[in-house]
């Protein structure tokens, strides 16, 4: 018989006479794949002792679409719609990483205006993605209205994207050599108005959720991923910054225009009674990042130049023989694309390093000893998108 005593070394609740009496057989519970708290089609096999999680094993693969293998039969422009579908909540960032990988091999020069539009779009997408994370995280913990407020703002960004590219989520907007369509000055003015409005909204979210005592008690000291653990697993993005490490590729290895822009890298500092690396620090890093994104957008609006939006690219793209590894800072962490070309019209191999996959693999480490409700809070705080985990 498997009991929690012989089930694992990590699980070691407070030993008292009462808990000794209560020890029982482990119950296997399947959370997902259609569980609303798992953010997609993640199935977590949990072994529970009463309400305490003893083991959690994430099972992935429900959204596997064979995208990497399929890309080997597609031309370089045709892969962009597939790359979109990896992380459908931050498709622009995914496109940008792939396009930058192709451009670096092709040696294409991207026009200045296209770079400005790209950074503007990327930061707007980051806000949209973090708003989704914020809204659903509050929803996971039982607050419904922040979800509606977040979606209201997100809709404004998606509307702009729809006007630019024609689609709400899967854009195919960033092309090899530039962007598809030019942005008009009326749209830029709307972005400026959005920035003014959004800063007020952020203050509202802060009062509504971040300062709420119940929310803080639910998230602080829960699901702690400390610095050493993040290094061991290779965590990136808000998870790593939540653990107090100042690591942002936009600062550390600037790409596109980020080297010229002025912004801070927020890290979890354990204020408001939180512990460095807990759910609350990860959450607060995302909220602070949105402020930084607004700051970047304002600088872009001041500095945007006129000119063409797409550079000179051959009609049929053939990459020279070789390989490239390109990584950028996506809303969920570092996305890496390893592109190998044998000189043909299609890639020889396309490998994606997904941040969400790394973060999902950290779940079994933090789960033992948590309550099931805290485990839901932990899943929500790492903000995974299963399309990117499975690809």
């Amino acid at each position: 018989m498997q009991t929690w005593e012989n089930s694992g070394e990590k699980f070691n609740p407070t030993q008292t006479a009462e808990t000794e009496k209560l020890k029982s057989e482990l119950l296997t519970l399947n959370m997902g794949p259609q569980h609303p708290a798992t953010h997609g089609v993640l199935r977590v096999e949990i072994k529970t002792d009463s309400e305490v999680v003893a083991h959690a094993i994430p099972h992935i693969g429900y959204l596997h679409r064979c995208m990497e293998k399929h890309s080997e039969n597609l031309d370089y422009r045709g892969i962009i719609p597939f790359v979109d579908r990896m992380d459908y909540l931050a498709a622009m960032n995914q496109e940008h990483t792939y396009v930058m990988a192709v451009e670096s091999m092709l040696g294409t020069e991207v026009p200045r205006r296209a770079e400005y539009i790209r950074v503007l779009i990327l930061e707007l997408q980051r806000i949209a993605s973090h708003l989704m994370a914020f809204g659903t995280y509050a929803l996971d913990l039982g607050a419904f209205s922040p979800f509606l407020y977040a979606f209201d703002e997100r809709e404004k960004i998606l509307r702009l994207f729809e006007e630019l590219s024609g689609a709400r989520l899967l854009y195919n907007y960033i092309w090899i050599g530039g962007v598809w369509n030019d942005i008009t000055s009326a749209q830029l003015y709307r972005v400026k108005e959005f920035c003014d409005h959004f800063e007020e909204e952020l203050k509202k979210y802060d009062t509504l959720v971040s300062q709420n005592k119940i929310f803080r008690e639910r998230t602080r000291h829960v699901g702690i991923m400390d610095e050493q653990m993040c290094y061991a697993y290779g965590a990136t993005g808000p998870v790593l910054r939540g653990a107090g490490v100042k690591w942002d590729l936009r600062k550390v290895a600037p790409y596109s225009l980020y080297g010229e822009l002025d912004f801070d890298v927020p890290v979890g500092d354990g204020d408001r009674d939180a512990m460095i690396g807990d759910c609350y620090s990860r959450y607060i890093v995302r909220m602070k990042e949105m402020t930084e994104s607004v700051k970047i957008i304002r600088q872009i609006l001041d500095g945007i130049e006129s000119g063409p939006v797409i550079g000179k690219v051959p009609k049929v793209i053939k990459l020279p023989k070789g390989e490239v590894y390109m990584r950028t800072e996506c809303p969920r962490g570092e996305l890496g694309i390893h592109l190998v070309s044998d000189g043909g019209k299609t890639p020889y191999r396309l490998k994606v390093k997904s941040p969400c996959f790394t973060h999902t693999s950290m779940l079994p480490e933090i789960a033992p000893g948590q309550l099931i409700a805290d485990f839901v809070a932990s899943i929500g705080s790492i903000d995974i998108v299963l399309g990117e985990v499975d690809r």
Partner: protein, 174 residues
């Protein structure tokens, strides 16, 4: 974490309860203010229809009178949902021209798009040399079977869309 038993003094215990009540009341006041002065953000769909942006990528429409059967769209399509075939025009026949003056050397015999397979990426419309293949603003085309999602653009009923789509009047108004 549940296993960490924190000891709190009586004062701290009551203070945290007070903080919980007061911070929640602050949040509820924010929500309560939405009673006044906020415009509704949703639309009542079947009665009120949203005007989509000009570039919205909805159902594909091919104006076969302007198609030169160049196969570019079918080659570009990443999901291979465009079925196109054509044959050579007889030598004694007069070669018609498209609206922009390109001669139509081939006779289009089949032009079918499986809309159920289409991923609406818009790559086919960008390569079209005569700009006859476009994304229309139609978004209501649910069908009962997958087979009904295949559109034969040479058939009369699909050709009739041209008056609606290419015409000056927008399809949907608010």
């Amino acid at each position: 974490m549940s296993t960490n038993v924190e000891t709190v003094s009586v004062k701290e215990y009551f203070r945290s309860i007070w903080q919980g009540v007061s911070s929640t009341a602050k949040g509820m006041w924010i929500t309560f203010r939405y009673v006044w002065g906020n415009k509704p953000v949703t639309i009542e769909y079947p009665e009120v229809r949203e005007v989509l942006p000009e570039r919205a990528r909805m159902r594909l429409f091919n104006d076969v009178d302007n198609c030169i059967s160049c196969n570019m769209c079918a080659i570009t399509c990443p999901v291979d949902c465009i079925y196109i075939s054509s044959e050579k025009r007889a030598a004694d026949q007069e070669v018609p021209k498209t609206d922009d003056g390109t001669p139509m050397r081939q006779v289009l015999t089949q032009y079918t798009i499986d809309t159920a397979l289409c991923c609406y990426c818009g790559l086919c419309t960008t390569v079209c040399p005569t700009e006859c293949l476009t994304h229309s603003n139609d978004y209501e085309f649910a069908q009962y079977t997958l087979g009904d999602m295949k559109y034969d653009y040479l058939s009369d009923d699909v050709r009739a869309w041209k008056q609606r789509i290419v015409g000056k009047e927008p399809v949907y108004r608010r």
